[in-house]
Every structure is written in structure tokens, then in C-alpha cells.
């Protein structure tokens, strides 16, 4: 098919009218992506009767230079260079209606250091394109040449640990509950009890901004009183993610400046503020020695269903480029969506310097990060102390384990809940380092720790049978043994 295009005379190719995308140069099965190309992998579901190759070429066209008809102005440019090239189309295993389309984009199609620009092309018009029933961006290969145009995380895992003086174990957090309705004074009480009890962080929830029941300045003032009082009680650095999400950048900067003035180590934003606002806040955080926490509010509207949207592994890559320090990335065992292998892929993308292609984790490309700082994944939503061994086994130690209900809902109170979590965590890390098989011996290790820690014993008996065991909607397409696809 590529040869057809090549053989056609230029006059013929640019004759006014409509032509199939695959004949306009957007399908090039012989194309070898260069080291500096950005590659996108789409899952395409063509409409009935639409050829998969033509659909892939259309995606390449609509996400780069094409429009629906031939335009003579192409001939004023180096149009071959600027056309995205679909170079491989393969059927999704076990699914005759879906195809994986690999599309390569020249680096010059993108403005350096701008997620807004990247996404305007890659997930722009093309997602509403009529010949497709559905379209999902599964993964992207970001070349080093492109990665290096971004500053990356403001702080990163290593510097965050140094700044907090906390090493060798996951950090512990809790989201203040109820998430809406507490006054500033009562809200700060939860923060104080949880931090004094032994947590490293507490957290505003995604939708706490500045509502009638609690103005943002009250929240910040009471929360920082609580943080500092807990620091004095423990001699440890503590933090609370003050959510600075607001209607405008000016409001967000004002809130962030106030958080800084009060001595906060960390501020928080929601994914819904948009890519440009996230990058702006990252640059602010970098200038002001602030850790930047991102709550992924809204992501499930486009990440959860496998047929349409954007995979969270792609969002993870964009957010590491955009420069957040924390991002919620799933718990596997908690109440929110999270297949173990898929989640492992997200964690690798956020934390490793080189992520090898691993289909059974849903990772389709080798991804070099070229020393971009690492993002701390946050595990949050329906987890408790009784799962500590599973959490450490699945997620490792460079993450934040966030126990909201699992701290605040403790029968002896919030501080007791925090003590239970901290003791469970330290006991499990100690045992793991001693070489014990925590996955198998975890319950026994916890029970033994409960002997010297009454709050842990109570947490274990309160939540021992709580699990969230549902089928995942976003499992990898490839079994661990699969060797398909080069």
C-alpha cells in the first residue's frame, strides 16, 4: 500500500478531491520509527465495514496534518515529515472488533515542554472521528529528546524523603473525613489527632476548596496549627496536603503563597484543573521548595473503560513530565479500580528511570526517563492496617499509603487509628528486611505486633474481613506468558 502512494505522481496525489487516508501517506507499513519519534499506541474499534488499516491511517492523519480532503497547500511544506505514520496494525488478542494501531510522530510536530500541545494533537479531534466506534490511547513512547524538554517533578521521591527525613518505609497518610461539611476548627482536630498518632501526612479531599462551611484560609490556618503541634509532639516533620485547587490561576497562586507563608511542606491540586495549570503549579512548587500532590479527580471518566479514552499509564507519563511529586495510582486491594498487573505498570512508569516493555503489565514500549525525577505513587481508597503485608508486597516502599477510613474510623479514635497503621507498617518493614516472607506470614506478623500495640489489635479485629473483590475493567490484554508482538 505504501508503494502505491510512492508510485503515484505528485500531480495525481494532490488533485482536488477526497482520497483514502492510507493513500495520502498516513499508512506506511515499512516505516521504521526513529529514536526521536513520539510513538502512540491506539486501540481502535472501526465502524462496521471500515477497514482497520484505513481507520489507523485516519487516526494518524487526524492527529497530525490531515483534513478530510486533499489540500494543495501541503505542497508548500515538508509534508512527508509532518505526517504521522501508522506503521503497524494488529488485532487485539481475543477481540475481533479491536485493533492496536502504532503511529509515529516526528518530534517537530510538538512544542517543547507543553502537555497541552501534545494532547491537543494526540487526543484532540481524533477521538470524535465518525468512522471509529471507539478509540483508546493505550501507551506512548516518549523519546529522550522530548522528555528532556520538561522539568519533571518539582521535588521527586529522593528529595522528598530527604526533606521530610523519612527513609526505608512507605509514608503514611489519611484523608480527612467527612470530606465535606466540617468547620475549619473541627477539620484541624482530625489533622492533629492523625499526625500526632503517627501519620506523616493528612490530606484534603479533592472537592474541599472554599465552601460556605469552611473558607480556605480558615482551613489553612487550623491545619497548620495542627501540623506544627503534631511536629512538637513527635519531633518529626509532618505535612498536610493543602488543596489549592480554585477557579483561576490567580486564586491558586494566592492560596499556595499562603500555604508557604504558614510553613507548609506540601500543597495539593486536582487533575481537573487541567494540564497547563498543573505545569504552572509545578513551576511554582519548584521555585518555592514545595512538594506538589496531585489528586486524580476525574480520571476514571476516560481511563476506566478499555474501549474508549486514555489509559492511566499515559496519564502517569504526562504527569511525570508535567512535574507533580505525588499522584494517586491505585491500591489493587482497596475499593477503587485496579488490576494488579496494570497497576504495577503505572507504578513502574512513575518510579523507575528506565521502564522496559512488558506486555503483561500493559507496558507496550521501553520508556527511558533520562534522570527525570521520580513521582511518589499514592495508594488510597478502602485500605486498612490488616492489608499491610499485601500493600508492601504489591506496591513496595516508595509510595504513600493513605488510610482515611482506616485511621479515622478506628474504634478508639483517630490517634489510635494512626498508631495502629504506623506500628503495622514498621513491624512489616522490619520483618521484610529480616528476610521473612511477608506475603505468607503477614497476618501472623501483624497479630504479634498487636500483642504490644492494643490499637493495632483492635484495628485488625474491626476490619479483618473487609475486602473489595470485583472483576477489573482494565486488565492487560496479554497473559504473563505472551511473547506476541515485536
Amino acid at each position: 500500500m505504501a508503494t502505491e502512494t510512492a508510485q503515484r505522481s505528485a500531480a495525481d496525489r494532490y488533485k482536488a478531491g477526497v482520497m483514502q487516508y492510507k493513500e495520502m501517506g498516513y499508512w506506511q507499513p515499512d516505516y521504521e520509527p526513529s529514536d526521536t519519534d513520539i510513538i502512540a499506541l491506539f486501540r481502535i474499534s472501526p465502524q462496521d465495514g471500515v477497514d482497520a488499516v484505513e481507520a489507523a491511517a485516519a487516526v494518524a492523519g487526524e492527529s497530525s496534518t490531515a483534513t478530510w480532503t486533499v489540500v494543495w497547500t501541503d505542497r508548500l511544506t515538508a509534508c512527508d515529515k509532518y505526517r504521522a505514520k501508522a506503521y503497524k496494525v494488529e488485532q487485539v488478542p481475543g477481540n475481533p472488533e479491536q485493533w492496536f494501531a502504532y503511529i509515529a510522530y516526528d518530534l517537530d510536530l510538538f512544542e517543547p515542554g507543553s502537555i497541552a500541545n501534545l494532547t491537543a494533537s494526540i487526543i484532540g479531534n481524533v477521538f470524535g472521528f465518525k468512522p471509529l466506534k471507539a478509540l483508546r490511547l493505550e501507551d506512548m513512547r516518549l523519546p529522550v529528546a522530548y522528555v528532556k524538554t520538561f522539568d519533571g517533578p518539582a521535588t521527586g521521591i529522593v528529595v522528598e524523603r530527604e526533606r521530610l527525613d523519612k527513609f526505608g518505609r512507605p509514608l503514611l497518610g489519611a484523608t480527612v473525613k467527612p470530606k465535606l461539611g466540617l468547620s475549619g476548627r473541627n477539620y484541624g482536630r482530625v489533622v492533629y489527632e492523625a499526625l500526632k498518632g503517627g501519620l506523616d501526612f493528612t490530606k484534603d479531599d479533592e472537592n474541599i476548596n472554599s465552601q460556605p462551611f469552611m473558607h480556605w484560609r480558615d482551613r489553612f490556618l487550623y491545619c497548620m496549627e495542627a501540623v506544627k503541634k503534631a511536629e512538637a509532639a513527635s519531633g518529626e516533620i509532618k505535612g498536610t496536603y493543602l488543596n489549592v485547587t480554585a477557579a483561576t490561576m490567580e486564586d491558586m497562586y494566592e492560596r499556595a503563597e499562603f500555604a508557604k507563608e504558614l510553613g507548609s511542606t506540601i500543597v495539593m491540586i486536582d487533575l481537573v484543573i487541567g494540564y497547563t495549570a498543573i505545569q504552572s503549579m509545578s513551576k511554582w512548587a519548584r521555585r518555592n521548595d514545595m512538594i506538589l500532590h496531585l489528586h486524580r479527580a476525574g480520571h476514571s471518566t476516560y481511563t476506566r473503560q478499555k474501549s474508549h479514552g486514555v489509559s492511566f499509564r499515559v496519564i502517569s507519563k504526562w504527569m511525570r513530565l508535567a512535574g507533580v511529586d505525588h499522584i494517586h495510582a491505585g491500591t489493587v486491594v482497596g475499593k477503587l479500580e485496579g488490576d494488579p498487573n496494570t497497576t504495577r505498570g503505572f507504578y513502574d512508569i512513575l518510579r523507575e528511570d528506565f521502564v522496559p516493555r512488558k506486555l503483561e503489565h500493559g507496558v507496550f514500549f521501553d520508556q527511558p526517563w533520562a534522570s527525570t525525577r521520580k513521582v511518589m505513587p499514592v495508594a488510597s481508597g478502602g485500605i486498612h492496617a490488616g492489608q499491610m503485608h499485601q500493600l508492601i508486597d504489591l506496591l513496595g516502599e516508595d509510595c504513600v499509603l493513605q488510610f482515611g477510613g482506616g485511621t479515622i474510623g478506628h474504634p478508639m479514635g483517630i490517634a489510635a487509628g494512626a498508631v495502629a497503621n504506623r506500628v503495622a507498617l514498621e513491624a512489616m518493614i522490619l520483618a521484610r528486611n529480616e528476610g521473612r516472607d511477608i506475603k505468607a506470614e503477614g497476618p501472623e506478623i501483624l497479630e504479634k505486633a498487636g500483642k504490644f500495640c492494643q490499637p493495632l489489635a483492635q484495628a485488625l479485629s474491626t476490619w479483618k474481613d473487609i475486602t473489595f473483590d470485583y472483576t477489573s475493567t482494565d486488565a492487560p490484554d496479554f497473559a504473563p506468558t505472551a511473547t506476541a508482538m515485536a
Binding site: 529522593v158 527513609f167 490556618l221 511536629e231 512538637a232 519531633g235 514498621e426 522490619l430 528486611n433
Partner: protein, 138 residues
């Protein structure tokens, strides 16, 4: 109230055997183990005094235990911590840091509130112990 910096401060004091197991874990990972002591428990006091250089070329945890005993003998009533340093590219920092000795009495911290404009407060944390000169604190 005991100060809770470090990886294992919420557990009962570690036994020699438990310390040895953690040191072995560090050595098995190729990390250099370091002993440090201080009588200033402020959480921003990053640079505790080094008990000699980090033990880069040691493979036997017993060597660390011997040094720890020697350090404890000189500073029985100081905070002493063991930390391990990973020189791998992209990390090049501590991997673990845990307290192995602490003063018998820990008076804790005073939180000073400096009320500035509006309701804004500037907070300062002071360990009660550091009101005395170094060496006379515990």
C-alpha cells in the same frame, strides 16, 4: 514523649539481634552503613555527628555492632542512629535510618507561636534539651 524520627521508632527498642538483621539487609543491598549521634533532636537537624566514616567496605554486621557498642559507651545518653547510604545513580541518598539508642529522659519540644499579621502564626519548634549547651543536655 519519645521522639519518633527514624524507620522503626514505633516498635519496642530493637535488640542487638534485630539490629544485626537490619544491618545485614543493608549490606546485602550493597549500601554503606553509618553510625551517627546527637544531643539535638530537632527534626531539621540533618547533620548528626558521624561516628567515624561510613563503613563502605564492611561485609560483616558484627563490625557495625562492635562500633555501635563503642559509640554507646562514649555517648550512653545521646540519640544514636544507624543509616545506610545507596550510591546507585538516581538515588544517591539514604535508604534507611533508624534509632538504636536514645536518652533515658526525653523532655520533648516547645512550640513557639509568633503571632504576626491577621491570624497568621509563624511557628518555631525548640527541643527543651537544646536550651542547654551541647554536651550538657541529657
Amino acid at each position: 514523649m519519645p521522639m519518633t524520627q527514624g524507620t522503626f521508632s514505633f516498635l519496642p527498642d530493637l535488640t542487638d539481634e534485630q539490629i544485626r538483621a537490619q544491618v545485614k539487609y543493608c549490606f546485602d543491598n550493597g549500601w554503606a552503613v553509618n553510625i551517627e549521634y546527637t544531643d539535638d533532636p530537632h527534626p531539621r537537624n540533618t547533620y548528626w555527628e558521624m561516628w567515624d566514616l561510613p563503613m563502605f567496605d564492611l561485609a560483616d554486621p558484627a563490625g557495625v555492632i562492635t562500633e555501635l557498642e563503642a559509640c554507646k559507651k562514649v555517648f550512653p545518653n545521646h540519640y544514636i542512629r544507624i543509616s545506610a547510604f545507596d550510591s546507585t545513580a538516581g538515588w544517591e541518598s539514604l535508604r534507611i535510618s533508624f534509632i538504636v539508642n536514645r536518652p533515658k529522659e526525653e523532655p520533648g519540644y516547645h512550640l513557639e507561636r509568633n503571632e504576626t499579621h491577621g491570624r497568621t502564626v509563624q511557628y518555631t519548634l525548640r527541643p527543651y534539651a537544646t536550651q542547654k549547651p551541647a554536651g550538657q543536655r541529657y
